[in-house]
Amino acid sequence: MSNSPTSKSSGENVASARAGARPATEKHAGRIERKFRALADAGELGLIAYITAGDPSLEASAKIIVAAAEAGADIIEIGVPFSDPVADGPIIQRASERALRSGTTLAGVLELVRNLRTRTDVPLVLFSYFNPLLQMGLEKFAEAAASAGADGALATDLTPEEAGEYRTALQGRGLDTIFLAAPTSTDERLARIAEASTGFLYLVSRTGVTGTREALPEGLPALARRIRKFTTLPIAVGFGISAPSHVSVLGGIADAAVVGSALVAEVEKAASPDAAAIAVAALVRVLKNAARSGISRRSNTLEIPAAE
């Protein structure tokens, strides 16, 4: 077991390692948990829409996100722009540059969350690199994010080993901590990632950066099955999920699809914030239809790890 100095919370969290199976009495089910329950009851694949905050302005992001939620996005990931997005491909890199040029800060993104919370009940997850959170201060960030109405956070370059204080701060404020699992993750690591995650687990579909791709990777179903051995949390698949045809087959593999670059590309192409909101909503509708009409979670045997 890990004796890491920064994993101060690991002991107390072992009890809730199977966070997805956590009894509802332990705490009020958050928006994310309720959303995934509703999706499971409907036998429906969830759609998670990623939008870079502040691209091209925070006002525009508010419009785009509300439109995406109204069009059927089940969860919104709000990207906090960072100067050095090493996990992102060109589309989200450019979006981050536009957002930073327009003066977007983490404090501004949290204001955006507060604003959105008055207009929509859609679960909101902050998707950031670690440094902006660290510079704000993890306690301060957790308090501000929770009071603004965010439901969880994911830091792209933060693994469970380095996340002791982060988990304590966020979970202490009732925020879900979502971690990435990757095709290169060993079983030992998958267990650790599952233990550290609450809300859902984000499965990186392929080795690579974010971006639009032609096809899903061949090994994805096997990878998802491997992860199910370690968690009962919902699994969201992202990186390279860009087309309705990707989404329509994911229902047999995962609980939600994350679409980022394809939506951000619509924002980039649009002539105005209103046009961006319309274009993003249109693509969300197409993707959500594919999620509804594709292979159903309920009808598929892949979800039962006992088949191993």
């Binding site: 090493v86 440094n131 902006p132 704000m136 693994t159 990186v204």
Partner: protein
Amino acid sequence: MTSAAPQSVPDSRGRYGPFGGRYVPETLVAPLEELERAYAEARADQSFQKELDDLFHNFAGRPTPLQFASRLTAQLAGPRIYLKREDLLHTGAHKINNALGQGLLALRMGKKRIIAETGAGQHGVATAAVAARLGLSCTIYMGTEDMERQRLNVFRMRLLGAEVTGVDSGSRTLKDAINEAMRDWVTNVRTSHYLLGSVLGAHPYPQIVRDFQKIIGEEAREQILRAEGRLPDHLFACVGGGSNAIGLFHAFLGDAKVKMLGVEAGGRGKSLGEHAARLAAAEGFAGARPGVLQGTYTYLLQTADGQISTTHSVSAGLDYPGVGPEHAWLAERGRVEYTAAGDGEAVEAARTLARIEGIVPALESAHAVAELIRRAPKMGKDEVVVLNLSGRGDKDMEILSRYV
């Protein structure tokens, strides 16, 4: 003295005090663990060290001389100055030490392709040469601004068979080249080794690069004992990421009486964006605070809300917003003093060394020379200085010609 035994850092989690660690996207954790294992095995394997020693000696040209700079010593009328001549190495800088070590590691791991970033081009050239020597394919990422100011090195890398890919994002310098190299690595992680060129990045890179560079100080320690019959009073080295500095310092860290000075790039001003001084904050350089960039927790030049700042230096190799985590720890403990020399001082120091000693230093190394020139008159004549002349200035002729 607080000086710890040299082998005491990093700890098993790659920490140098609070600094270092491993902050990467999950995809890269397994390959970093693989690298850590492969390195531990290689270290315990006599044949690995033997092969590396052979390449050091016959390919790179080790050991390098420790030259007594008699004319510079006379001119400055201060301490006795010795130059550790890493500039005489094959490909022109200390970078070849680490490139050879990691190249052999890549072979051990069965990786047939090398990815590297380069700022000044010295690490890129060294990596391209090593890849050619070891029969590996090689892709080098380089900011387009650096490609412009170090054109000769771009040509050299291509001549050596490397593919050089320009990076046009951000500040178009070393930081952005590292981002792009990391993106390539995360995509091709199963077949490629990322040959990081400085004591930066996620654990175990700062340790691996230090260990392959520490030969500089090991040789210098023996050489100065032979020449002077005693240890030096001061070590001088420039600090970008900090690999040549840690390479010189490491063998002396246990010698409490040896003072060490790391010289950063003071650039053209003290406001954020005008310099690359991360640890010399006491001198009024703005914007340095600990944070996480490109895998490690260390001092960074950044804005109040955690965006990494652009930097400026006349020397591409020092033009970077972060510094190796071990340097951050050495600075915090007060074991090494960090200061900065500006663009103009570095250029002037390069000219001085050229005319007085017949050596044209790289502009990076010239920063250390500049600080020595500034301090020497206040030092005693019985004091002994070892300065790491980490690279040669051939690549900088275009820039130097603009000032001459």
